[in-house]
């Protein structure tokens, strides 16, 4: 059951990230917007992260057959996803804190994370949780300003991913409990919520750059 849920989650994550990333890169190529460039990096990273974990499970199931995924593969996939969540949160931090500063936009702002002796995977999961929670709050605040209903769905999606990430991290404490399955189910819900408003963007009206064809 857990294996099935893990595969569904990682495949949905890969596809949702890929589709949103492609839409963002089309937007960047057509408008040159740096925000869309950051979203491109964010969602391609998220997509790649889910793909790495999915590929790890596939290799384990069909080639190695050791009974559990290689730890470093799972850690690598989660780390790549964390990079994606960072760029979503980073876009919000630029909008919220540095709307007029070209200096901060050019150098970027890298938060300082203290690394303890716990496993890297735990660190990435907890960092992902913080970034996702921040992204969800900022997206919800933007809804209060613009009343764009799509922002509610994205905020709920990011919040569910954050909750899923938290439960996934917490399941290390209770490894045999239902927490990990619940975490994956919630994350699947989060990815679907993230995709709903984006699926309504009318790309058919766009005449694409020649370079994209």
């Amino acid at each position: 059951m857990e294996f099935l849920l893990e595969n569904i989650l990682n495949l949905i994550g890969f596809l949702v990230g890929l589709v949103i990333g492609i839409m963002a890169i089309i937007g960047f190529r057509n408008t040159g917007s740096p925000t869309l460039f950051r979203l491109t990096i964010a969602f391609f990273s998220i997509s790649l992260g889910f793909f790495v974990v999915w590929a790890g499970y596939m290799v384990e199931d069909f080639v190695i057959k050791s009974g559990s995924i290689e730890r470093w593969v799972q850690t690598l996939g989660i780390a790549i996803q964390t990079v994606g969540y960072f760029f979503i949160a980073f876009s919000h931090s630029i909008k919220s804190f540095f709307p007029k500063s070209r200096y901060f936009r050019s150098i970027g702002v890298f938060p300082l994370f203290l690394i303890s002796s716990v496993q890297l995977e735990h660190i990435f999961r907890s960092v992902s949780f913080i970034l996702l929670a921040y992204g969800a709050i900022e997206t919800m605040l933007s809804y209060f300003e613009n009343k764009n209903k799509g922002a509610i769905s994205v905020a709920v999606g990011l919040a569910l991913l954050a909750l899923g990430e938290f439960l996934g991290w917490y399941s290390f404490v209770f490894p045999e409990s239902i927490l990990y399955s619940a975490s994956m189910t919630i994350k699947i819900g989060g990815l679907i919520a993230l995709f709903i408003p984006v699926s309504k963007v009318p790309l058919t009206k766009i005449k694409f750059d020649e370079g994209l064809e």
């Binding site: 408008t31 919000h92 764009n148 963007v201 790309l203 766009i206």
Partner: protein
Amino acid sequence: MAEYRTHMKIIGDILATTRDELQDENGASVTYLIRKANISHSRISRILKTLVSQGLLEQLDTQGSNKYKISQSGREFLQAYYTFTDFADNFGLNI
């Protein structure tokens, strides 16, 4: 408090003005665009020069004064701009 506009939004406002609010068929004057887009002369001059060089605006020389009309590429850019503004809005972001 005045709303902060990104560079992209200012470009969108200028193109929308040249598309929707032309004074006459000869295009919009710089003075008209300054008033409508609400930016300084020096800044709009730089932006107009860029937009003309990129083929998004057409510069018309009528009776000794420069006027600007949106080009077909400009219309397509504006369509893309509106589409991806909605896309970014969903994430609570401005393009």
